[in-house]
Symmetry: C2
């Protein structure tokens, strides 16, 4: 009878348990534990897990697959605690947001008789904890898989299968690459979103700003609601990559600022908006798939061609309209100053 | 029989028409027109409007209320075109994202026999055009109302009523204040979101980044899908306010960057995340209401007190955990370098 152990039953661990239960896999047993008192008991009562273990080491006894779903700040001591209790041939995976530290710790602490395959589900929501857990949390979302050097092919396939059961898309990627990619599409957005919310909410005008804040503000600042210890863990464990992308982001903002400020650059500014909107449309409607290495070089140029065609056509149509409005606005402001 | 004219039947004008129809107001007639051929006909066929007018001037004939829902770049010429055709006592409003230009144009172009009351619904979505129109688009969303100096009390109440029918929350605000507030909570988020998407999508690594981009990236970059001419109009008509907030945003990012980069500032960095998360929780669960002027001074200090209590408690609990992890990480990196 296959047994899976889930260490940490918060939003991610709890949702994984629920997703596995939903799949109704014949004979599957889930053991779980959580450092916070009472959580594992609640998980069992709501049917997310079958067995409530008193600690990580007892949870992994008899388990073919172990998922460490704690905050990364606790992952190292969990690996240390479970190492002696792991079964021969057990497969260990995790769900932390950065992967290099995890792979280093696994190499250092886990016995050779087990396979470590890192994992990172790209999913989340504004709430955290078991109460927010949701069997559908991972549906359609990417789930990065970063095998260790010693992981067996079978272990990698097993983790891929586990991920697929939740409805997520398994993506195998090198751990160092993973950390640099997620710095761009996950950790930078987290900091950008938090900075935007902090700026507005710390402003003297916040009571007035908050009243006018609509759905756009809510969406763009959503990541400011991330569990603070998770945000902080990310900054600690992926610092160098994050700083790199943060610097590039500030550069990009400075460039856009220059276009906005310069009345002579309006066509260029418009093109920026058209390109971003068009590229995002492509991103949403034709979700990217990994092309084989030899085809990658071609992809951008074909896309570039289509984009440049669409952008050019649009810009020509808009230019007259803008020129007229700029003239009118200039005249209006002059008159206003003159009064 | 009351008649409302809606000039421009895109996402906003179309959604307004649908929301009014949904309210089933006895005897209400909606006339509509759109500069794009075929749109008004489609709106009539789908029951959003009752009468399809061939142009703005014919649409407003006999209308008690006129809503200019075109892009701001066309609003001035629409006001010019409808001015001679407006009924005695007609109420004119609009839906543009910035309000100072609109009020100036209305003062310049509209006859004294009508009242102009500016309007700005804080709502939107990734798609634009009549096809994306939705009767529920405005539900629960703020809708700013900026009366002109000459607007009658009755005109202001009428526009408030119209806004309430859509399910939005009417918020009366001075036009100059409006433009400065929305620069912070709408226009800066637009630029920040677009810059984030552009940076990622223009990167060489985009094919790999896109595969790993999860729901957080989608939410935070949603505004990059704004209609490009709307984004551009916003930059043109609210340039000074936008640049002000953009500069403050870059300052805030630099400040956070400093905390992330400095190993000695981790407690401060954690506090930033805790404060942002807590403040956003308050923002979401207790939506702000406008306090009378004399009560405003008190509000921040009570909130500050509560926040500082929550933040303090959390940080104490976390500090030991972080210290341990930082030590472990430092040691791990040293060992990695040593190998």
């Amino acid at each position: 009878m296959p047994r899976i152990a889930i260490i940490g039953l918060g939003l991610i661990g709890g949702s994984l348990a629920l997703a596995l239960k939903r799949a109704q896999i014949e004979g599957l047993e889930i053991a779980g534990c959580d450092a916070q008192r009472g959580v594992a008991g609640r998980a069992r009562k709501q049917g997310a897990i079958d067995h409530e273990a008193r600690d990580a080491a007892s949870a992994v006894a008899g388990a073919a697959v172990v998922v460490v779903a704690t905050p990364i700040s606790q992952a190292r001591s969990v690996l240390e605690a479970i190492a002696p209790a792991l079964e021969e041939g057990a497969i260990v995976t995790d769900t932390a947001s950065t992967k290099r530290d995890l792979l280093r710790w696994a190499a250092e602490l886990l016995p050779e008789r087990v396979s470590f395959v890192g994992g990172h589900p790209m999913a989340g929501k504004e709430q955290s904890g078991l109460e927010a857990a949701d069997a559908a949390l991972f549906e359609g979302m990417p789930w990065a898989i970063t095998p260790s050097v010693g992981a067996t092919e079978g272990a990698i396939r097993t983790v891929e299968g586990l991920v697929s059961i939740t409805g997520a898309r398994p993506i195998i990627v090198d751990a160092a690459e993973h950390d640099s990619y997620v710095a761009a599409v996950s950790h930078l957005p987290l900091v950008a979103s938090t900075a935007l919310f902090s700026l507005a909410s710390q402003s003297q005008a916040w009571p007035d700003l908050a009243i006018l804040a609509g759905p756009g503000f809510r969406d763009v600042t959503r990541l400011a609601s991330t569990d603070p210890s998770l945000s902080h863990d990310i900054c600690l464990t992926n610092r160098e990559n994050l700083l790199h992308w943060l610097d590039r982001y500030m550069e990009e903002l400075r460039r856009l600022r220059g276009l906005i400020a310069d009345a002579g650059q309006q066509e260029k500014l418009l093109k920026e908006f058209v390109r971003a909107q068009t590229e995002r449309e492509v991103f949403l409607t034709k979700p990217p798939e990994r092309a084989p290495e030899d085809q990658r070089a071609e992809t951008p140029s074909a896309r570039e061609q289509m984009l440049s065609f669409m952008v050019g056509d649009y810009v020509v149509r808009r230019t007259k309209e803008i020129d007229r409005m700029l003239d009118e606005r200039e005249r209006g402001l002059r008159e206003e100053r003159g009064r």
